[in-house]
């Protein structure tokens, strides 16, 4: 069964994934909205930057973050100047790393959802007296429901599965920065295969159930639209 450190790793992982997803949905919304509506030439460059974590080995991202967190790095120097503890080997360091690493998984579904709306519903809402925020809440959000669900699930699941970035910037402090993927790695290294199985199989089944839920919700949503 699960040992005490394994349960701690599970809780940290869930907390990390939930925090990261929440932050990404909050910050990803205006970013995705800008990308979906702008005609600025900077758009392609920004899109490329956001997609970088898709192609880079996570260790590359982790390496640069580690440098940035060091006392001489831009983030390390800032936190030191503000009298805050260093981000390296801390939970909030992991949150920052995960947020960057999972950014495309949240921004892209939102951007697709927003682009798919077209300008018509927003223009209609404006002629009916709805201001910008009102239009977003009463028209954009409900019509982008599936986009938000996809973004949240992918962001959450992708953070669950993260390994390289955490390895580089979080270290492996049990109860603080040790997450599931690293706990599994440790068990395998120590030849504790049954422990590794509990965690690995658990993660596998959870991920499958979550993805199954999102795909069936997606199907229901499309059926509802065509009725």
């Amino acid at each position: 069964m699960l040992s005490q450190p394994d349960i701690a790793a599970l809780l940290i992982t869930l907390r990390l994934a939930a925090t990261t997803t929440a932050i990404l949905l909050l910050l990803g919304t205006p970013l995705a909205w800008w990308l979906a509506t702008t005609r600025s030439r900077a758009r392609s460059a920004i899109e490329a930057v956001i997609a970088l974590p898709l192609v880079l080995p996570p260790t590359v991202l982790g390496f640069y973050l580690l440098l940035a967190f060091s006392p001489d790095g831009p983030i390390g120097a800032t936190t030191a100047a503000l009298g805050l503890p260093s981000m390296a080997f801390s939970f909030w360091g992991l949150v920052l790393g995960s947020a960057i690493y999972s950014l495309p998984f949240v921004v892209q579904p939102l951007q697709n959802a927003f682009s798919g709306l077209g300008r018509m519903p927003l223009e209609v809402a404006a002629t009916l007296g709805a201001g910008p925020l009102d239009r977003f809440i009463s028209v954009v959000l409900p019509l982008s429901k599936m986009g938000y669900l996809t973004a949240a699930v992918l962001g959450f699941a992708h953070t669950l599965g993260e390994f390289g970035v955490v390895m580089m910037i979080g270290g492996n402090i049990p109860g603080e920065t040790q997450v599931l993927s690293i706990a599994i790695y440790d068990h395998v290294e120590a030849l504790e295969y049954s422990q590794a199985h509990w965690l690995a199989a658990g993660l596998l089944i959870c991920s499958f159930v979550v993805l199954l839920m999102i795909y069936s919700a997606n199907r229901k949503f499309h059926l509802m639209k065509t009725v």
């Binding site: 519903p121 209609v124 809402a125 002629t127 009916l128 007296g129 201001g131 028209v139």
Partner: protein
């Protein structure tokens, strides 16, 4: 009054529209596809943010060099070409979307009455995806009106519909648009829709306004762009008179003028009651002129007329002539050869032969 002087430059199109039309009744914006009608409508609604110039609607300034009122502050009702209903809301929620956002409800519109006159009572709990094209447009019209707009804009509302629902909605619009007391701008490229609905006309081509004013004036201008086109036509109002002739309806246009038109009702199953007000659309090319009264002609409508005006120049071999028939103005398009042969001139008494006239409402 609605006074506009609007300019808008887009990458491969520019709009320059200056016009004044009365602040009530239906104003048709008429012109060929791609001439900028929809862009003009969008500029009036405030949906084209780079529009410059000025726009005043019944003494409210919507656009000037100093300010540009936001779309949501203008209170325009818009009915778009195809369905613009919110798919995530029921018909009822769609209808009330704009009304709920009114700061204060000034006129207590009878919501129930509006909904029943649009014939959409049975649809209230349904979602837009389950409605027909005609039903969607009726809901869209109701939604716009319930928001108590200062100006109603309709962008070819019939164009996405099939023939039978188009005719059905047209009949509804004819009565409906006369009842509401807000100005309506109606974009169309159909001369039939202009003739049936419009009180005023804005004639557009290539992004600019060629002519504007009361429909009789714009249609009746012998040198106007519309008169030169193949679709040149006149509109005459009258009322149904009793008729004894088979397959024909008599329309009394006043001053003793009675025109006989084919009874299309046989096909469309609409029965005209005597004394119903109607309009007739008469194409300029269906009106010919004779110096003497023709006898034993197959043409039923031959009326004495006086030439009031000839187009200054012939255009593509024909010339537009305006005649007066007991106070009614009618355009006739005849060949320049005939004008010369018959030596037609203003003030001359002639007979107008009307080959066909369409009863349009």
């Amino acid at each position: 009054m609605i006074n506009a002087a609007l300019q808008l430059d887009k990458p491969n199109f520019s709009l320059a529209a200056d016009f004044n039309v009365p602040g009530c009744g239906v104003t048709a914006i008429f012109g060929p596809s791609g001439c900028g009608k929809t862009t003009l409508l969008r500029a009036i609604a405030g949906l084209e943010p780079h529009t410059k110039g000025s726009l005043a609607v019944n003494n409210e300034l919507w656009l000037s060099s100093q300010e540009c009122r936001a779309v949501q502050e203008r209170r325009v009702g818009v009915v778009f070409q195809d369905s613009s209903l919110f798919p995530h809301l029921t018909v009822e929620e769609n209808l009330l979307y704009g009304r709920k956002r009114l700061k204060k409800i000034s006129e207590p519109i009878e919501i129930k009455q509006l909904i029943s006159s649009l014939g959409i009572e049975a649809l209230l709990q349904r979602y837009p995806a389950g409605l027909s094209g005609g039903e969607k447009q009726r809901v869209a019209l109701g939604r716009a009106l319930l928001a108590e707009p200062k100006l109603l804009l309709m962008d070819e509302p019939l164009s996405a519909l099939d023939q039978s629902s188009r005719e059905e909605l047209m009949l509804l619009l004819e009565t409906f648009l006369q009842l509401i007391d807000i100005p309506v701008f109606y974009v169309t490229h159909s001369s039939e829709e202009v003739a049936r609905l419009a009180d005023n006309l804005i004639l557009m081509s290539d992004g600019s306004v060629l002519d504007h004013g009361p429909i009789q004036n714009v249609l009746g201008a012998v040198d106007g762009e519309l008169s030169r086109s193949d679709t040149a036509f006149s509109v005459i109002a009258g009322q149904i008179a009793n008729t004894q002739l088979t397959g024909l309806i008599s329309v009394d246009c006043g001053q003793g003028i009675v025109l006989q038109v084919p009874d299309t009702a046989v096909a469309s199953e609409i029965r005209y009651q005597p004394e119903t007000g109607v309009r007739l659309r008469i194409r300029a090319r269906d009106v010919s002129l004779c110096l003497e009264q023709p006898k034993r002609s197959s043409i039923l409508n031959i009326l004495p007329a006086v030439i009031t005006e000839l187009a200054a120049e012939p255009y593509k071999g024909s010339r537009v002539v305006k005649v007066d028939i007991a106070g009614k103005q009618l355009l006739s398009k005849i060949s320049e050869y005939s004008v010369q042969q018959l030596q037609l001139h203003a003030g001359q008494a002639v007979f107008a032969q009307i080959k066909s006239a369409a009863l349009i409402s």
